[in-house]
């Protein structure tokens, strides 16, 4: 095993939300992080159990160039010798080049692993690795979803807010709004929440209801192959070997047995609920919450709960 | 410049088109070669055996630059029955020396190379552009093409259609009478990767020498034939199948190729190979009987577009005919332009050139062969008949004395249910055709 060089994760924060790969970057930096952006305290809370030592900078101007300069200043003031790892999320990729320039360091983008003397970069769309020797401090971006997060039992955390003022300049590119995920139009592959339906649901109409329930939970609808074979849903809704490979945080399965061809495409949801009459099928075994009940009736009841009955 | 964009437009940068453009450019004509693929050859089947003799005229010492896989020094014809085979095999080292007889080549390489020859001679090659129709003058004479690009009309006094099999340009110009599916075969081919040394060991060749084998039988009861030839590090194996039979027997070409690969005479040649590519293509096969009119006012047809392809089971030649006919078309067009008569009459020199050369001579000679080779009798009965005769000739059955050949033939003919009259008639046709 290789010892990792001294690292600090620089994680851009929007409204207190950590970006994709944020916690992984903090794990890669063994708990040391600089959070920069808006509402950092909330983000610090969500990093508890992963981060040990956190610096924060509330930034008023979120443009990458400014953020990069502020972050560089924060590094200089906190851990100037540490190399920097930034999650390769959209915001992280925006930030990293500016940070590298401001620090005068090389940028290694798309790393999958940072080792003692080497950064391993994914190339050719993940078909090859470019191992890059490193000398001296650098900035790297870390591909999300590859490393995994190390949670530790000890959730104590040392938090040091820094205050760094940035020059205020006018911008030609201005953020107008951030739209929340739209589950109904999103690619299933991208969906953070999925409600799935399988052969345990007994008719075409159930899937219309399933889609409604999904929508009211801000989730997308997925199905098993049995359902697409029956023509009750289109192929782009099918999760699995011969369908779409998804990676939601939340998966709710109604009447799905959890055949390996289905679950192979399921990624690693943080939370799974399964409703099934058979308490022993693989889907129930994978679930955090396994409810033994008729999925059709539960669906009706759920529809009732989430969408209050209209008077008509 | 005249009111035209060019002196001539050639449609399709296959072997026919590139040779036509090359001939025109050599004659000092301003020619535009239009190809729908991103480069010449990109739409073509992966490999082939080409007989580029005709190139001697156009590209002297072509063998020094042409991208060739192997020089064919050995040609065999295999007759396959159920689980046995009879092979006629010819080889000569002289085909492995300049000026060479035939070569195997990857068509994307070969066609690309040929198109570069035309460009080097001054032709303008326009790729990723599909010709969608003909332009005509008020008198109905062809005087240009329409393409799928914006602002895509190109005008020229002469259009040469080299757009391959099923040429819609030739059809649009009314040069074909009705064509029916019976005239087409479908070719499917697998390119199988093997290490170079393994290929050379199995096929008994060295260096850059190669083998071309044609196969009769082994097509799971669907009328057609097969072929195997060696490239540098791949072997191409394919079948050519009669379309109507294929449909009637509801067999998939993949199944038939798989069956051929399992045949005990074929399996050891390709064992352990990985499939690198699979492709399928329609081939005009009926020879002379389906050829279109070759010229009309302002337009010529060459190559597969003119059905100048010989797919008679033991031959599968098209590239040589395409190159030759393309070249003749180019020359005839140049002459017509010089003489200022681009009407059908002015272009008639093309037909004459074809008649005088091997292009039509071969086709005329072999006119009955496609029908014969693909007939039910030749396909279904003869392979078994031939191989059982041979089997009995070679079988050592001591202490029984060997039966005479005449008796064997008679007995096996009866067993195979072949009428003597048919056998004689087919034999005569074959003699006349091949002889």
């Amino acid at each position: 095993m290789n010892a990792v060089p001294a690292l600090i994760a620089v994680v851009p924060v929007r409204d207190g939300i950590l970006p994709a790969g944020g916690l992984e970057s903090i794990s890669e930096a063994r708990g040391i992080a600089l959070l920069i952006g808006s509402d950092c305290p909330a983000a610090v809370e969500s990093a508890r159990g992963v981060a040990r030592r956190v610096f924060t900078v509330e930034a008023t101007d979120q443009s990458p160039a400014i953020l990069g300069r502020v972050a560089a200043e924060a590094i200089r003031r906190s851990l100037p010798d540490h190399s920097v790892v930034v999650p390769a999320s959209p915001d992280g990729r925006d930030l990293a080049p500016h940070l590298a320039l401001a620090l005068g360091r090389p940028l290694h983008s798309g790393a999958i692993e940072i080792r003692a003397d080497e950064v391993r970069l994914a190339r050719q769309g993940g078909l090859a690795i470019a191992p890059v020797r490193v000398e001296g401090p650098f900035v790297a971006t870390l591909q999300p979803g590859i490393r995994g997060v190390d949670f530790v039992a000890d959730t104590t955390l040392e938090h040091a807010p820094l205050s760094i003022s940035a020059p205020t300049t006018g911008h030609s590119v201005v953020s107008v709004e951030v739209r929340p995920p739209d589950a109904s139009t999103m690619d299933l592959a991208e969906a953070p929440r999925i409600v799935g339906g399988g052969a345990g649901l007994d008719s075409d109409a159930r899937f219309a209801m399933l889609a409604e329930v999904a929508a009211s939970l801000d989730a997308s609808m997925g199905v098993t192959r049995v359902i697409t074979d029956r023509g009750w849903a289109t192929h782009e809704r099918q999760i699995g070997t011969t369908g779409v490979v998804v990676d939601p945080r939340l998966y709710i399965a109604f009447g799905i047995s959890g055949a390996v061809q289905h679950t192979s495409g399921l990624g690693q949801p943080a939370h799974i609920i399964s409703v099934n009459t058979d308490p022993h099928c693989p889907m129930m075994q994978m679930a955090d919450l396994a409810i033994v009940a008729d999925a059709n009736e539960v669906l009706v009841a759920l529809a009732h709960e989430v969408t209050p009955v209209s008077p008509s | 410049m005249s009111r035209f964009d060019a002196d001539a437009i050639v449609v399709g940068a296959g072997p026919a088109g590139s040779c036509a453009a090359l001939a025109l450019a050599r004659a000092g004509k301003n020619v535009i070669l239009v190809e729908r693929g991103p480069f010449a050859g990109s739409k073509n089947m992966y490999g082939g055996v080409v007989y580029p003799r005709i190139l001697d005229e156009l590209v002297p010492n072509w063998w020094e630059t042409a991208p060739v896989q192997r020089w064919v020094v050995r040609r065999s014809t295999m007759i396959l029955a159920d689980d046995n085979a009879f092979t006629i095999d010819y080889r000569t080292p002289s085909w492995g020396r300049p000026p060479y007889n035939g070569a195997t080549a990857y068509r994307p390489d070969f066609d690309h190379w040929l198109s570069r020859q035309a460009v080097a001679a001054g032709a303008t090659l326009v790729t990723s552009t599909t010709v969608t129709g003909l332009l005509r003058d008020p008198a109905g004479r062809v005087n240009g093409v329409r393409t799928d690009r914006p602002d895509g009309d190109l005008s020229a006094p002469i259009v040469i259609a080299c757009d391959g099999v099923n040429s819609f340009l030739a059809k649009e110009a009314g040069l074909y009478t009705a064509t029916d599916a019976a005239n087409f075969t479908v070719g499917v081919k697998e390119t199988l990767a093997l290490p170079r040394s393994v290929i050379e060991e199995r096929f008994g060749v060295r260096d850059d020498h190669g083998v071309d084998i044609e196969i009769l039988g082994g097509t799971s009861g669907v009328n057609g034939g097969g072929f195997i030839y060696t490239n540098l590090e791949t072997v191409s194996l394919g079948v050519v199948l009669k379309l109507p039979k294929l449909t009637a027997q509801s067999k998939r070409p993949e199944e038939i190729i798989a069956g051929l690969k399992r045949h005990p005479a074929i399996a050891p040649l390709i064992e352990g190979a990985t499939v690198q590519e699979y492709s399928a293509h329609v081939i005009p096969e009926a020879g002379l009987s389906m050829m279109p009119t070759m010229v009309t006012d302002g337009m010529l047809v060459a190559g597969d577009a003119a059905a100048l392809c010989l797919a008679a089971g033991i031959w599968l030649e098209g590239v040589n005919f395409a190159m030759a006919s393309g070249m003749y078309a180019g020359r005839a067009a140049a002459a017509a332009i010089d003489q200022g008569d681009v009407s059908a009459k002015g272009l008639a020199g093309y037909t004459k050139l074809l008649e005088e050369s091997f292009v039509l001579a071969d086709h005329r000679k072999l006119k009955d062969i496609p029908g014969l080779v693909l007939s039910d009798r030749v396909q279904q009965k003869y392979p078994g008949f031939v191989t059982s005769v041979i089997e009995r000739v070679f079988r050592v059955d001591n202490p029984n004395p060997k039966p005479g050949l005449r008796r064997i033939v008679r007995e096996e003919r009866k067993r195979a249910g072949i009428k003597l009259g048919d056998l004689l008639r087919d034999g005569w046709k074959g003699m006349r055709g091949f002889g």
Partner: protein
């Protein structure tokens, strides 16, 4: 002036450049550059850092309507920062610089941001939806954020914009332009030698991710944990419920886990 940066990509393992070309993202960028220029009545400069073969991409761009083309000559192996620095020198007069989001080979996606930094102008990267107003003075762009969120940006001045491949479909070049572009002149500028080694790629070996092992000291408990049989502790909580109670239980769990408030 509007600029577009195009990267010539040679597919991995291909011996010649017949199969090379520019990525779908670069094609989108070119199209959008042409549209912006049309709206503004402006010119389009197409730039590439690449080998001779890359001139084919520039010719295609000219055929599609670009006004001028520059190739910064180089061999493979130029870092993102040097690429961006070289590009910046060419496009420093541009009002809007369009780029593809990622290149198909190296795929670091850092050139556009470096370019913005070098030019000292704003950036809007990873765009998936573009609207250009009538006179080209205002661009409304949608950008992909993580977790399915989208950011809407308004671009009103000089900026570097990078787009995904699906944002716009490159127009077909008119036939005559194709023919003339074949002979058009391309400015070639030299760039010193490559500064990173492009060759040392090793096959991808995904990073190890450890699964939790069954913890108990008792072998039977470990079997139970691995097979999910019996009463062994596992992450699963199994409950038998009437439908209405089940529905409420689901919503409670979603609240506990923070999906609902």
């Amino acid at each position: 002036m509007i600029a577009v940066c195009l990267k010539w990509v040679q597919p991995h393992g291909a011996a010649d450049d017949r199969f090379a070309g520019i990525s779908a993202a670069d094609q989108s960028a070119l199209e959008l550059a042409l549209r912006t220029a049309e709206a503004r009545g402006d010119e389009v400069l197409a730039v590439t850092v690449g080998p001779v073969g890359a001139e084919r991409a520039l010719r295609d761009a000219l055929a599609c309507g670009a006004t001028r083309a520059v190739r910064i000559a180089t061999e493979p192996g130029v870092s993102s920062l040097r690429t961006a620095t070289a590009l910046a020198a060419e496009v420093d007069a541009a009002d809007v610089v369009w780029c593809g989001d990622y290149s198909a080979d190296r795929g670091s996606g850092s050139v556009p941001a470096f370019l913005a930094a070098r030019l000292g102008i704003d950036q809007a990267l990873g765009l998936i939806d573009i609207e250009i107003n009538g006179n080209g003075s205002h661009i409304r762009a949608v950008r992909r954020l993580d977790g399915g969120r989208r950011e809407v940006l308004s671009v009103t001045g000089r900026a570097v914009l990078s787009v995904e491949g699906s944002t716009a479909r490159l127009r077909r070049a008119p036939l005559r332009s194709v023919i003339t572009a074949d002979a058009a002149s391309i400015t070639v500028r030299p760039l010193e030698s490559p500064d990173i080694s492009a060759a040392d790629l090793v096959p991808y070996r995904p990073r190890a991710r450890v699964l939790p092992a069954p913890a108990s000291a008792n072998a039977l408990d470990r079997v139970r944990a691995l097979t999910d049989t019996g009463a062994a502790p596992s992450r699963t909580e199994t409950v038998v419920l009437e439908p209405a109670a089940a529905a409420r239980r689901i919503l409670d769990a979603l609240r506990d886990w923070g999906y609902l408030t």
